[in-house]
């Protein structure tokens, strides 16, 4: 599919937020989808209709509404499994976000309740991450290392913003490797299949934080070669409050429950319990029902537009942005400056002007919404010796005209601070 068949104006009409104006009549230029995406009518209406007409608790209610709600909730799981090419629907675990998914996973290592040797972890064993990770793929592993005495190691990042991949960092002592599929700051897409092959060669497991890739590229769980993949709904035109941990069934079955409570059990006695099979073993309590159903509608929407078409459109936007930003004096892109192996996220600095000031003026005077700060990736910013960056991130509904607005805004920012 070519990008010429991509009708961005038609897509924008699906998103009610683009029909509003900001205070003082400014148009909204939303370049912050890497943070969270906007929602189309199809998602909003599906959630509204479910709340209005079909809502009840799932899995336990013996009545019509209970059955309708359960069908819709489990139907969403089927849709998501299909969307990411999961071999089995039972491998799709609903969590509240990608952070929870990664914490769930980290909890199952070095846990006395898990005797599977692939998950045992102690002093001398190694956990491998990278310097470009989001805090949600750093802190759970730091906590695990503290609990178990295992060693935390990481791949560096090159000056160009690429993973400084050294296969030798993954050793016979490595139990788990967890890296981003696509960086939320640099836009870099990592060679995950290669890293996965190396991890498996030494008998380690590998997890991917795919929060920034699943919304933007066709992603197939089996092709990635990973054992676990985490992603989140709100970055892929779905609601907040719903995320996914995908894992190979055989591994999920050997992992201990994370949260205990209703619906995750098979039978409970006063002194012990047995647990439900996956996926419900990991879904204690009333889940985010309507959010899961909304995510199901989101993957329907993305599928209808086509992930190939979205990817091609974003590629065009990224090429346009990288070119346009070159015109801005003193602007330095933090991340790859070519289109190879990168997604539609562009972070940058302007000499002598703090990103918070850049973001404030872009928002106030041009309606341009970008993210400023360390984007929950402080170690990556330390690596580049900068406290913060300004980040523009694009999605299916963005236009080259909006990139022009960003560039005009940046020129104005430079005038204010000249």
């Amino acid at each position: 599919m070519t990008s010429t068949s991509f009708d961005v104006e038609k897509i924008r009409k699906d998103f009610p937020v683009f029909s509003r104006e900001l205070p003082d009549g400014r148009p909204l230029v939303y370049l912050d989808s890497g943070n969270s995406s906007q929602k189309p009518n199809q998602v909003i209406e599906t959630m509204r209709e479910h709340l209005a007409l079909h809502y009840s608790n799932v899995g336990r209610a013996m009545h019509v509404l209970g059955a309708e709600s359960t069908d819709a909730y489990e139907g969403a799981r089927d849709k998501i499994a299909g969307f990411v090419g999961a071999p089995s629907r039972d491998e799709v675990i609903f969590t509240k976000n990608a952070s929870e998914a990664l914490n769930l996973l980290a909890y199952s290592f070095g846990n006395p309740a898990n005797t599977d040797p692939r998950f045992t972890l102690g002093p001398g064993d190694e956990i491998v991450i990278s310097e470009m990770e989001h805090h949600s793929n750093i802190v759970p592993w730091q906590l695990l290392a503290q609990r178990t005495g295992a060693t935390l190691k990481w791949f560096g990042v090159t000056d160009e913003g690429r993973l400084d991949y050294d296969p030798a960092l993954i050793t016979e002592r490595t139990k788990i490797v967890s890296i981003a599929h696509q960086s939320n700051v640099l836009g870099t897409v990592n060679p995950v299949a290669e890293v996965a092959a190396r991890a498996h060669e030494v008998g380690a497991l590998i997890a991917l934080d795919a929060s920034q890739s699943v919304p933007h590229h066709p992603v197939d769980m089996t092709e990635l070669g990973a054992d676990f993949v985490a992603f989140t709904g709100h970055k892929m035109v779905g609601p907040s409050g719903i995320g996914v941990l995908w894992g190979r069934a055989e591994l999920l079955e050997s992992m201990p429950p994370f949260l205990g409570g209703g619906e995750m059990i098979e039978a409970v006695w006063m002194d012990h319990s047995t647990y439900a099979p996956i996926p419900h073993k990991f879904e204690a309590g009333t889940p985010p029902i309507v959010e899961a159903i909304g995510l199901g509608a989101a993957v329907d929407y993305l599928t209808e537009v086509g992930l190939d078409a979205i990817e091609a459109h974003e590629r065009e936007l990224t090429a346009y942005a990288l070119e346009a930003l070159r015109e801005v004096p003193t602007l330095r892109v933090i991340g790859p400056e070519t289109l190879e192996g990168r997604g539609a996220t562009v972070s940058f600095t302007l000499e002598g002007i703090h990103p918070h000031d850049v973001g404030q003026i872009l928002d106030d005077q041009f309606g341009v919404a970008v993210r400023v700060g360390h984007h929950c990736a402080r170690p990556l910013h330390l690596r580049f010796g900068i406290p913060a960056t300004t980040r523009a991130s694009f999605y299916l509904y963005n236009t080259t005209g909006e990139i022009d607005a960003l560039v005009r805004g940046l020129h104005h920012v430079q005038k204010v601070f000249a």
Binding site: H354, P355, D364, Q365, G373
Partner: protein, 146 residues
């Protein structure tokens, strides 16, 4: 535009030409304050002389124009005043910043710091303006404890 009212000429002037920047000897107390949500940070020293006279406020830090200009204005206002006088300015500045734009600034007390009145309308930026002032208050309290 609302933002124009925040980036007052005086603030931009102090940001581009910070007054009293750099850490100096001698000093009675040194503090390091950070703003975890945005990463702004400041290291600040005070030297207090006889009769509570502030002999020097020296600082080093990184952050946005608001946080850096606020430190510069603080240096100008505090140096040469007394501890008691400056603490009442800190209180008035805090009251202004936390007033959500509804508080009338007392220009007589605040002097140049009145230029930050526009910042109070941006809750996300109030902590930027207050960073160095809170660090100063902390440093003065510590110097008195010696």
């Amino acid at each position: 535009m609302i933002g124009e009212s925040m980036y007052q000429e005086l603030i931009l002037e102090h940001y581009k030409h910070p007054q009293g920047r750099g850490l100096r000897e001698p000093y009675d107390a040194e503090v390091h304050h950070v703003n975890p949500t945005c990463g702004d940070e400041i290291t600040l020293r005070v030297k207090v002389g006889d009769a509570g006279k502030i002999l020097d406020v020296s600082y080093e830090g990184q952050g946005c124009s608001i946080s850096q200009a606020a430190a510069s204005v603080l240096h100008e206002l505090a140096t040469g005043s007394t501890v008691d006088e400056t603490l009442s300015v800190v209180d008035e500045f805090t009251r202004l910043m936390q007033g959500r734009g509804q508080v009338e600034a007392d220009e007589e007390v605040l002097g140049d710091a009145v230029a930050f009145a526009g910042v109070a309308k941006f809750p996300a930026r109030v902590k930027c303006a207050l960073l160095s002032w809170m660090a100063y208050k902390d440093a003065v309290v510590r110097s008195a404890g010696q």
